[in-house]
């Protein structure tokens, strides 16, 4: 189950962060997402290691912490997507598929002429769309 998704901007500032848990651990998820930026920095700033994955946007599992697993994704405009899940076994393909759909939703949201780039995403329709994507995660369909 996905417990949290986040969009992080250029200055490592949160643009969108939504948690999907019953429990009130929003703060903890904020911490988890914030810390994962260190791993993203490490992976992105280490081009030697990532040479074969030059155009790869999917960053994979960033780190496991307590009972969460954190996955990352970096768009071409260097906006970071972060997903936190409690599932023990996440297939790479599922995570990739999730991020692809999420990316599409993000692109639609920032293409809104009333959205100012670099500001928080406050669009409700984006939120609704993200909820749908989150719910469909792990259902096995790649549609």
């Amino acid at each position: 189950m996905i417990v949290c998704v986040a969009v992080v901007g250029h200055q490592n500032n949160p643009l969108y962060l939504q948690s999907f848990t019953e429990a009130d651990d929003a703060l903890k998820l904020h911490h988890v997402v914030h810390c994962s930026l260190d791993v993203i920095d490490e992976r992105v700033n280490n081009p030697k290691r990532n040479a074969p994955a030059l155009n790869e946007t999917f960053l994979g599992l960033l780190y496991p912490t307590e009972n969460y697993k954190v996955y990352g994704y970096l768009t071409n405009t260097k906006v970071k997507f972060i997903m936190v899940t409690t599932d023990l076994d996440v297939k790479d393909a599922d995570a990739r598929n999730f991020f692809r759909k999420f990316h599409a939703a993000y692109v639609d949201a920032v293409s809104n002429p009333f959205h100012v780039p670099g500001k928080k995403i406050a669009s409700r329709s984006f939120g609704a769309r993200v909820s749908t994507i989150v719910k469909s995660f792990g259902s096995g369909t790649t549609a």
């Binding site: 500032n13 962060l17 948690s19 009130d24 904020h30 999917f58 994979g60 599992l61 780190y63």
Partner: protein
């Protein structure tokens, strides 16, 4: 391999088996536990794999009594190790290799000991090579024996596992452990690993199935065993360099025990154990210095490589260990509070101690002399564990773990992770009541959250900080943190009530919501107004409001900029002192509730401009301490995110920079917020609010001002009220001392410490006439500033200014005495031109209004400039002429026909004419005082100069473009090919009739060219009357003088002239003796009147083949029609005219 050395054979009994009083026929009782605590210790120190008996050679060879003693010792040893598989070795120590031991002795010894021959080792003490050789042999013997022993033991137990020859799961696990340990003893790592893994697998299956112990204790035991197994496996893997396998194994281990928490009362035990797993694994990784293997795919976290970077870092495990230990602390708090409520003082079991089995606890029960060991019930165990756990200060351990992780992450460059650790430390300090340490750490972590805009995390942090400030009784900090919290932009999501669970997770501030922001702000206002709120009294601490107000400073980098920002813009770019101008003060706050400002003070760097605005709601009778400060009353209420714009008029008093420094807002009388003023043009975005999706507003209504307004303005200098006059009389002439009068005329300002700067600049090409360096190098300057002379007003006499500070060739500084208003001061600049050049004269006059130091900073300046042409006053020319009708034959002139040599030629001992002309090329009349030829020093004796005509007593005045001529006769007395005649000296001045001062005579020098002086071999002189009368015959002589000592042959010819008839030969030749003169005479009768050309005579020297024809002017005579009548003087002037 462990080695135990015993001093003599009497101690051998410690190796003996402890006697077990067990009935061999009875079935074995069910095992009371899985592993005995001392089993491993026993096998490491007390159960030997091989025993060596050591004898000195003399003990077994010589004395029979000793031999017997040795035999009995050996028997004893054998009986001790009987029943075990322990191997025996006998060592004989010889002092030298030469000491031959009898074969029979060794055989006897072997038989006694019942050992193979190779298990009897002879050590040779004194021989180096033998010694090492025998030691090596001993080593190999021991190794072999040990390996055999442990292999046998292992095989024995392994067979039980394989045959499933055991009665319970516990035994199976125990056997696995034993086999693995034996394998480890003989360094068979794969087998050790295999049986450890098998054991832990069986163990995991055992959870919840066994009923031997009450469930809680059972779980504790299982975990303790699992920990031991896991430690073994991790160590073997890590030491074998299998980092990836170790980490994967650890993941598996964690996953399988993650959820096995047990009952809530003993959850703390689980978390403590869980935390220990991370700590131990972290330490293992750290001690083995595990690195990421090269063979691993660099794509961490993907299907290629499921591990992540941090799992290779011990810091990651320390951080999680700290997290879980904190979890333990929370669980412990819950458990102890519930136990205290229910049980009170009841039933803390006494004398509980760890049992002989790993992970088990028992109670010692003493009854008289017998000590019984009784099992515990779960309840008893729980309260025992609780009381044990409460004795420990977990906080400090958590802090230590976090600190370790923090330092490690910091060095890895993972600042965010490090800040989480530092936040964890801070929370522990906070929980432990160490608020100053907590505050310091929280302040550090708040920085990164502020920087990256993680407001939810910042909110938590500030919540703690606020409480720390409250506990530390620091009102200023408390207000600062509270206001920052209230002004934070928040994520719209989240927001439950403020339950205690919520407080545990979100810190003392609860979850960030609009309402909590508002209540935070309200709390500050309440404190300031002295109202008590229930929340504060709850906590038992309250702030003592002090009489004086609290000051908060906000600058451009302060996080409190969100609370209040002041933007100040002047409406103009520059202003004159004393004239009014408008200044806009705009204020904005992000606080959620409207802010009422009592008083607003705006401060400038010129305190005279400060003003205060008092809110209309305030009592206007509040006495204003600054009577001169303008006071206005307006409604000063700041609404959220709305600019409060105020415009005020200020009058700058002094010139220079006027800058708005700060805006002080007084809120609720006691809080003074001092905002550094910002310019709209350079105003930055609000640090956290810039990410918010909201409409941005401008600080001023005027768009231009909002984008270009400045908080500082340049107040100009007052207009100078001093005039500076420069005079000049037309162009300057080269050579003269040209004076330029400069007058400083005060027209209202008193002049103090005035200073006149003079600068001469080439008018054509920019820059100075000469660069300072050039001026040093060369002495000559085209234009030179020679001096400045001041004219004092009192006596009008000229005197040199003694306070000239500095005069250079093109630059001068002169100080001007103090002048009262209306006074004037003048001076003259003396400039000399060496070359004709056009020059710009720049004069600037700087002064201050009074003599104080402050005024010295504000100097007023007046600048004037004047272009002055420098002109050459006269053009001097000269011309050499020969005497009238006397032609010396100058051979050089004939020969130098090629024209290379342009030198003039003069005849020796003849008077040569020199005409010097001076043309005035200025526009003013000049007075010529003298015109002389000044020969060189050595030239004086060599020739004589005689002035024939020129300057008489009264010096002539030459008008513009007039020419003056002077005639000199030059008589050289020496032959020279290049003879220097000297210089023409002209002494001139401006025409004094125009009122100029008289003494400014200028001597102008002009060099005469070098001439060639030679002796003429022949001189032809023509003699002819001054005039002729029509029809009256006259004689025309041509005298040819031979000045050589040779006979000269000449020819001459005469050409007919139509105006004359003459008698004599047309062509003739003659010879002239040395130093004699030959005269050719012709009689002529003029036929026409007027100026007539005489018949042309050409004299040719045969020797020099040079022809000489007198010039036409010399061969002309005026013929009167009849005898003229004129007086003598007129005749003289006629001659003169003829000459000219």
């Amino acid at each position: 391999m462990n080695l135990l050395a015993l001093p003599d054979f009497s101690k051998a009994s410690i190796l003996a088996r402890t006697a077990k009083t067990r009935d061999p026929l009875a079935p074995p009782p069910p095992p009371a536990g899985i592993l005995k605590k001392d089993w491993l210790l026993k096998h490491r120190t007390r159960v030997p794999a091989a025993v060596a008996a050591m004898f000195r050679a003399d003990q077994v060879s010589g004395d029979p009594a000793q031999w017997l003693q040795a035999c009995s010792d050996l028997e004893n040893l054998k009986s001790v190790i009987q029943g075990r598989n322990t191997k025996l070795v006998v060592i004989l120590v010889q002092s030298q290799a030469g000491d031959e031991l009898g074969e029979d002795v060794t055989v006897a010894l072997r038989k006694r000991a019942e050992i193979d021959s190779k298990h009897l080792v002879v050590l040779v003490e004194r021989d180096e090579t033998e010694w090492t050789k025998s030691l090596n042999k001993l080593t190999s013997v021991f190794t072999e024996l040990c390996t055999t022993y442990y292999k046998d033991e292992g095989r024995r137990i392994k067979s039980r596992i394989e045959k499933r020859n055991f009665s319970s799961v516990e035994l199976s696990i125990r056997y696995c452990f034993k086999v693995a340990v034996y394998a480890e003893f003989r360094r068979d790592w794969p087998e050790a690993l295999k049986f450890y893994e098998e054991g832990i697998r069986v163990l995991r299956e055992m959870v919840g199935t066994s009923t031997r112990l009450p469930p809680t204790q059972h779980l504790v035991e299982v975990k303790a065993i699992a920990e031991q197994f896991h430690f073994k496996i991790s160590t073997i893997l890590l030491h074998g360099g299998k980092v990836v396998e170790a980490i994967t194994w650890f993941r598996k281990h964690i996953r399988s025990y993650e959820r096995v928490v047990g009952s809530p009362e003993i959850a703390f035990l689980h978390w403590e154990w869980f935390s220990r797993q991370f700590l131990v694994f972290g330490e293992l990784i750290e001690t083995t210095a595990a690195t990421v293997p090269d063979t691993l795919s660099p794509r961490f976290g993907t299907a290629d490589n499921v591990l992540t970077e941090w799992e290779f870092q011990p810091a990651y495990y320390y951080q999680l260990a700290a997290n879980y230990l904190r979890e333990k602390r929370y669980a412990l708090e819950c458990s102890s509070s519930s136990v205290n409520l229910t049980e009170g003082v009841n039933g803390l079991p006494e004398s509980v101690m760890p049992s002989v089995y790993v992970g088990q606890y028992v109670r010692l029960f003493e009854q008289g002399d017998t000590v019984a060991v009784l099992p515990l019930s779960d309840t008893e165990y729980t309260s025992y564990a609780l009381s044990e756990a409460e004795r420990f200060q977990d906080s400090y351990e958590i802090i230590a773990l976090f600190r370790k992780a923090y330092e490690s992450f910091q060095s890895l460059g993972a600042t965010r992770m490090a800040s989480v650790c530092s936040g964890g430390m801070a929370i522990e300090y906070y929980a432990a009541g160490d608020f100053s340490n907590a505050k310091q750490l929280f302040d550090g972590t708040a920085g990164i959250y502020r920087q990256e805009g993680w407001t939810t995390l910042l909110w938590e942090n500030l919540g703690y900080l606020r409480e720390c400030a409250r506990r530390l009784n620091s009102l200023k900090d408390f207000i600062g943190y509270s206001l920052e919290m209230a002004a934070l932009p928040l994520f719209s999501s989240s927001g439950q009530g403020n339950s205690s669970e919520n407080k545990r997770k979100n810190g003392p501030a609860g979850s960030p919501t609009i309402s909590s922001r508002e209540s935070t702000q309200q709390e500050v206002i309440n404190i300031l107004e002295g109202k008590r709120t229930s929340e504060i009294t709850d906590d038992g601490s309250n702030f003592h409001l002090m009489e004086e107000s609290t000051h908060i400073d906000i600058d451009q980098i302060s996080p409190l900029r969100m609370v209040l920002v002041a933007c100040v813009a002047f409406h103009d770019q520059s202003v004159k002192p004393g004239s009014p101008m408008l200044v806009s003060v705009s204020l904005q706050s992000h606080l959620p509730c409207p802010v009422m400002i009592d008083k607003l003070e705006v401060q400038f760097n010129q305190s005279g401009c400060n003003f205060v605005i008092v809110s209309a709601q305030e009592d206007c009778s509040v006495s204003n301490p600054h009577a001169d400060v303008a006071t206005q009353t307006t409604s000063l209420t700041l609404f959220t995110d709305k600019w409060l714009r105020l415009t005020h008029e200020v009058k700058p008093g002094k010139s220079g920079k006027l800058e708005c420094l700060s805006v002080k807002a007084t809120i609720s009388k006691r809080l003074v917020v001092c905002c550094q003023a910002e310019s709209p043009v350079s105003m930055e975005e609000f640090p956290l609010w810039k990410f918010e999706d909201q409409v941005e507003t401008l600080p001023t209504k005027d768009n231009v001002l909002a984008f270009s307004g400045q908080k500082l303005i340049q107040v100009e200098e007052p207009d100078a009220q001093v005039d500076l006059l420069l005079d000049s009389t037309g162009p300057a002439l080269v050579g003269e001392l040209f004076t330029v009068p400069v007058t400083v005329l005060s027209k209202g300002h008193a002049v103090h410490s005035g200073e006149l700067k003079i600068n001469l600049v080439d008018a054509k090409g920019g820059g100075l006439l000469m660069s300072p360096r050039e001026a040093e190098e060369s002495e000559s300057h085209d234009v030179e500033l020679l001096g400045v002379s001041a004219v004092t007003a009192e006596n009008g006499s000229k005197e040199e200014v003694d306070n000239i500070r500095k005069i250079q060739h093109s630059f001068g500084v002169v100080s001007v005495p103090t002048l009262c208003a209306g006074d004037s001061w003048s001076c003259k600049l003396e400039i000399k031109w060496h070359q004709a050049k056009s020059v710009m004269l720049y004069v600037s006059f700087g002064y201050s209004l009074d003599s104080t130091e402050e005024a010295a900073l504000h100097r007023l300046n007046v600048h004037r400039s004047l272009q002055i042409e420098g002109k050459i006053p006269m053009i001097v020319g000269h011309q050499f002429l020969r005497p009238f009708r006397r032609e010396p034959l100058l051979l050089s002139r004939i020969r130098s026909s090629s024209g290379d040599d342009k030198k003039g030629s003069l005849a020796l001992n003849e008077s040569n004419m020199l005409i010097v002309s001076a043309r005035n090329c200025t526009e003013v009349p000049l007075c010529l005082h003298a015109m002389t030829i000044e020969p060189n020093d050595n030239g004086k004796q060599l020739f004589s100069v005689e002035q024939i005509s020129g300057i008489s007593n009264e010096c002539p005045v030459i008008g513009p473009s007039e020419e003056y001529k002077g005639i000199f006769s030059v008589n050289p007395r020496v032959v020279s090919s290049s003879f220097c005649l000297g210089e023409i000296w002209l002494s001139w001045s401006r025409d004094s009739t125009l009122g100029e001062s008289q003494d400014n005579r200028v001597i102008m020098k002009e060099m005469l060219p070098e001439v060639h002086i030679e002796e003429p071999p022949l001189v032809v002189t023509m003699e002819c009357p001054p005039y002729a009368i029509l029809g009256t015959p006259f004689t025309f002589h041509v005298k040819i003088y031979n000045s050589t000592s040779l006979l000269q042959e000449i020819k001459y010819s005469l050409v007919d002239s139509q105006n004359f008839v003459f008698s004599g030969a047309h062509n003739h030749a003659a010879s002239i003796l040395p130093k004699t003169e030959h005269i050719v005479s012709h009689k002529l009768v003029p036929l026409g009147s007027g100026s007539q050309q005489l018949p042309r005579i050409t004299v040719t020297s045969v020797r020099y083949s040079a022809a000489l024809t007198p010039p036409a002017s010399a061969a002309t005579v005026f013929v009167y029609p009849s005898e003229p009548k004129f007086n003598l003087e007129k005749g003289y002037s006629t001659t003169d005219a003829c000459v000219s």
